[in-house]
């Protein structure tokens, strides 16, 4: 055994007492923090952001090997399917070229109409690209950490998109890293419209892989396959971002399958959207 057994025998009852006291104290501290966190206490928020600032650089470094490994696996897969992929892309390119023509015509037509009715032009969007450096491992929250923050101009509320569509929004902006609340999270609420019929609804997450629609007009008739896009209401997201498709309309609940593949979320673009403000003076009141 280890040396100093004699001292240990004398010290162990005392140590046991200290341990028990520390245990009770820490349990109390954790419970207090939970209550304070629930009430939105500023001290807890500050503690959270301090830990966040310290931990995210470590996470950024550690996430690098995972990225490299994933890329290697992808590249090997690609080598095997190079020919098929080439044929598929050629087909897709042909189709996209046609769409490009259509889009150009529509853009011109749209510009003419806009000038005729003197519509206000939509504000300009700026993008910040960021790499996903962490995802929530917990089963009760759906968030992702990205390596862009306040120094890149990120603030809370901005939309995060991938090439497929809306992924979520920034809920916490640290200096060099931020947290994205994914659409599937329990606390995610996004005002949307159904493309085509223009019915409005609120898209709600519930920690499952799909979302559901709430506050939809009773008269609305939806069918599986209808596209859902952001409405731009509420001043959170720019309008028209693709969100997902209605996947099932069974027993009253309308499920929406997101366009974004959350299993393979590697990069996101954060849209810095300058929302038109009715009055600068209202800015302070909104917070």
């Amino acid at each position: 055994m280890r040396p100093g057994g004699g001292i240990e025998r004398v010290a162990s009852p005392l140590r046991g007492m200290v341990q028990r006291f520390a245990f009770v104290l820490l349990i109390g501290a954790a419970l207090t923090m939970l209550v304070l966190s629930k009430t939105g206490n500023l001290g807890i928020e500050r503690l959270r952001s301090v830990i966040f600032e310290v931990a995210t650089p470590v996470l950024e470094v550690l996430s690098q090997p995972a990225v490299v490994a994933n890329r290697a696996v992808d590249e090997i897969k690609e080598l095997f399917f190079l020919r098929d992929e080439n044929i598929r892309l050629r087909d897709e390119n042909e189709r996209l070229r046609q769409w490009h023509n259509v889009a150009q015509n529509l853009e011109q037509e749209n510009a003419v109409f806009r000038s005729q009715v003197s519509a206000r032009s939509e504000p300009q969007n700026y993008f910040v690209s960021a790499r996903v450096i962490g995802d929530a491992g917990g089963p009760f929250i759906r968030t992702a950490l990205v390596n862009a923050g306040a120094k890149d101009g990120l603030v809370t509320g901005l939309a995060a998109v991938t090439s497929r569509g809306l992924a979520g929004r920034v809920i916490e902006a640290g200096r060099r890293a931020s947290r994205i609340l994914l659409l599937t999270d329990l606390n995610s609420r996004v005002p949307v419209v159904i493309e085509g019929s223009r019915y409005r609804a609120v898209l709600e997450g519930d920690n499952s892989d799909t979302m559901h629609l709430n506050f939809l007009a009773a008269a609305a008739k939806l069918s599986a396959g209808d596209r859902v896009v952001t409405s731009g209401h509420g001043g959170v997201f720019p309008p028209g971002l693709p969100v997902g498709v209605v996947s099932s309309t069974r027993n009253g609940t309308l499920r929406v399958q997101p366009f974004v593949d959350y299993d393979r979320l590697e990069y996101v673009r954060i849209i810095r959207y300058d929302f038109p403000q009715p009055d600068e003076g209202l800015k302070g009141a909104r917070q």
Binding site: A30, L31, M33, A55, L186, S208, D263
Partner: protein
């Protein structure tokens, strides 16, 4: 106190931080996006394994304060309620330290079985606490999957811990 050379003292101090470092590593690894299908939603509760393992084998090197701070770190990284995982991990640490006599010197099956019980308790507790916190009944399937996954890979992960523990014999 006997005099120890400075070099030996330094190495021993560094070694003594190994349990804490494995706990930290578990938390970061669980947060790194692996890009594996289905695992993005539910990752095994790695930190639970580290706390349970070290509280049984080397409680002297993993004080409750360290476990508490590690729990806070995990709370912040996952973006969950601050204090929730800290609470869960400190409770598990308390159970491990007080019941370690039951597992020490017994077969691995006994240790694994104990871990199963602790995991079920910890995840049930986390589910109830999170449901109260968010004042809604959270989908329990993800918790169930996380629990099963955690128990299933415990032998694999603790194999790595036992390498570290072997190196700690002299500390």
């Amino acid at each position: 106190m006997t005099q120890v050379p400075v070099g030996v003292f330094l190495i021993q101090t560094l070694r003594a931080t190994i349990p804490g470092l494995t706990l930290l590593l578990c938390i970061f690894v669980a947060s790194v996006p692996m890009g594996l299908p289905y695992l993005s939603d539910v990752t095994p509760f790695l930190s639970l394994m580290a706390v349970y393992y070290w509280s049984i084998y080397r409680p002297d090197l993993i004080p409750a304060v360290v476990v508490f701070l590690a729990g806070l770190l995990q709370d912040v990284l996952t973006g969950g309620p601050v204090g929730l995982l800290a609470l869960v991990l400190v409770l598990v640490h308390g159970i491990g330290v007080s019941q370690r006599g039951v597992f020490l010197g017994k077969s691995f099956q006994v240790e694994w079985w104990g871990f199963g019980l602790v995991t079920v308790g910890a995840i049930l507790f986390a589910w109830i606490a999170a449901s109260i916190y968010f004042t809604t009944l959270i989908d329990s399937r993800a918790f169930l999957v996380q629990g099963m996954l955690t128990i299933a890979i415990y032998p694999l992960v603790t194999r790595l811990f036992s390498f570290a523990a072997r190196g700690l014999r002299t500390v």
